[in-house]
Amino acid sequence: MQFSNRSITKRIPQAILILVFAQFLCGSLSIALADQAQADPAGTATGDKTSVVDAAGNPFVVPEPTDTSAPDYAKNKKDFEEFQTQAAKEPLAMKLADGVGHTRIATNFSWTLLTGYLVLFMQAGFALLTCGLVRKKNAGHLMMLNFAAYVFAFLAYYAVGYAFQFGAIAVNAAPSNLGGTPTLNHFLIGSGQWGFLGGKGFFLTGPAYDAGSNCLTLFEVVFMETAGYIIVGAICERITFWAFLLCELFIGALLYPISGCWVWGGGWMSQLGSSMHLGHGYVDFAGSSVVHGIGGFCAMALAVILGPRLGKYGPDGKPRGFPASNIVFVVTGTFLLLFGWMGFNPGSTLGATDLRISVVAVNTNLAAVAGSAAAMLLWYRLFGKPDITMACNGMLAGLVAITAPCAFVSPTASVIIGILAGGLVCAGVLFNERVLKIDDPCGAISVHGYCGWLGAVSLGIFADGTYGAGWNGVGSAAYLGKAGQGVTGLLHGDWSQFLVQLGGATLLAIYAFGATYIVFSGVNAWRSMRVTREVELTGLDVPQFGMLAYPEDAVEMLTAGSQAPQRGL
């Protein structure tokens, strides 16, 4: 789509007006909805003695019991009074506890922000990986897509995405490791255990202009970005730039935040344990389905709408290989992603005071190597040579699959999950290419979509109950008749967890594919999202961006007489 300069200059003041109006609206809205909880932009009121807990998570401050009909009311009341007497005797201890509580939150801030920065750097890994996997004539196009994905999806998430996803997190899923963000407490659609859409914190103003909330924002926005650039791998080499920007705005503002609210924002899927007695509700630790599944199935819908690249299928319908242009980029990018994943999964505890982080990190790595080994060996057996790009896809498949269960399973289960994912990604690539005839240049659908679904389901099979007591508000006292029993899968005795995982992961896949397909079929009918045949054959770099990634190739790529840059000086 060509915007004329005139229309752009006309639109800029309009855009600024809208922003100013939104700022005003959010300010007044937050005043109208104000309750006892106050935002804390300076962070000076976040973390006091109420944030102090022991290793098992028991609070230092004993709360006053309110429910007089509870069976252990008398004991709780006695504990409370005892605490009050001691507190009155030792005021210095209470002061110290305030400092300890603040330090605990600060430790968790450091962890969450640092792991968030690691996830941010996965962007570089994705850019290298996808750029290396396509033809050289589209290298600039690939880099620009990865770059613009970060830019535009971020802005959409800032404007509305974050509020939709986390605007009601304090209702059911307050992140106590970050101080609880008590100001994000309103569902726009739904309420209580049946929340469908968050409704506070638009444009990060008012209730979201808060130190704890912004810590969450930084960490969560880079997760959304992951879903945002997953799609690049499936739609590259043929999508127009304007259509791609629409895709990113759609993901950052709507597609990802809506389902993200259901699972991570305290929405209805996370509460199925309390409301329908289905295990611990739908559980996805770091986003196999919430992030990768959504990105992968959104990518699938877009790839179906766009159709395969020219020449991908011969007249006989047989798929042809378009070899990767830079294997060095592919492998380097994959390792950057593995490194970033050390933030993605362990960081999802939102706190270093949760010592399960070491198990999470080991599990994540184990699944990665198991996935890669499985894909490498399987390909070796099937085709006689281990394909380097499939070995990399296998590692990513293992990572994607372990992302949901990483905190709840044992290292051995992680290896099994990794192997399953390594096998599934190979089968998925061949199935898409040969049976469905969906052209997915980088294997994004198979890696992120199929293996994301597998990861969420495998949680329901392999979770061993050692972690996650009280997850989503289920079984804080005891679960399956055992005190301290956490999220438990099929193999360890909880059928209902498996059912909710299977149903939930499938529902999210259908949601991502369906919503994307409906919206972008409409867009494509209005104006073709695909570049013209000539542009696709030349390569998208010069027609779309006016420059080549490697200008020294110009002599080979452009016909004589065009304004090819000169070689050398």
Binding site: R320, G321, P323, F383, D387, T389
Partner: protein, 112 residues
């Protein structure tokens, strides 16, 4: 004067260069080229789908020599480039009308 063009395997370039140099040849021009002969291309698999490499990478060597050196240079190239496996390449010999050294304007055999 003759012009000798040889299409050889990239791996044999060093061998050929050394042997030709030893004969006292003063200049040699090399280009990277692609093509096929009797060796033809071959088929590979990428992510489970086949693709064919129709044109194989070769090195194209051009040497201008005086008549007396032609046979020796041809022998040197053959010795240096031969592996005995299909795909070793070809040598083309043609007559050369004139040679001009750009710096001085010299012409004929003296310019080689």
């Amino acid at each position: 004067m003759k012009r000798i063009d040889a299409v050889i395997r990239p791996s044999q370039l060093d061998e050929v260069k050394q042997r030709v140099n030893a004969l006292g040849v003063t200049g040699l021009t090399v280009s990277e080229v692609r093509g096929f002969g009797r060796q033809k291309g071959h088929t590979e698999t990428y992510r489970g789908s086949e693709y064919t490499v129709d044109f194989l990478p070769k090195i194209f060597v051009t040497i201008a020599v005086v008549e007396e050196l032609v046979e020796q240079v041809v022998d040197a190239i053959v010795e240096g480039a031969r592996t005995g496996v299909i795909g070793d390449g070809k040598i083309f010999v043609s007559s050369l009308e004139d040679v001009i050294r750009i710096r001085t304007g010299e012409r004929g055999p003296g310019a080689i």
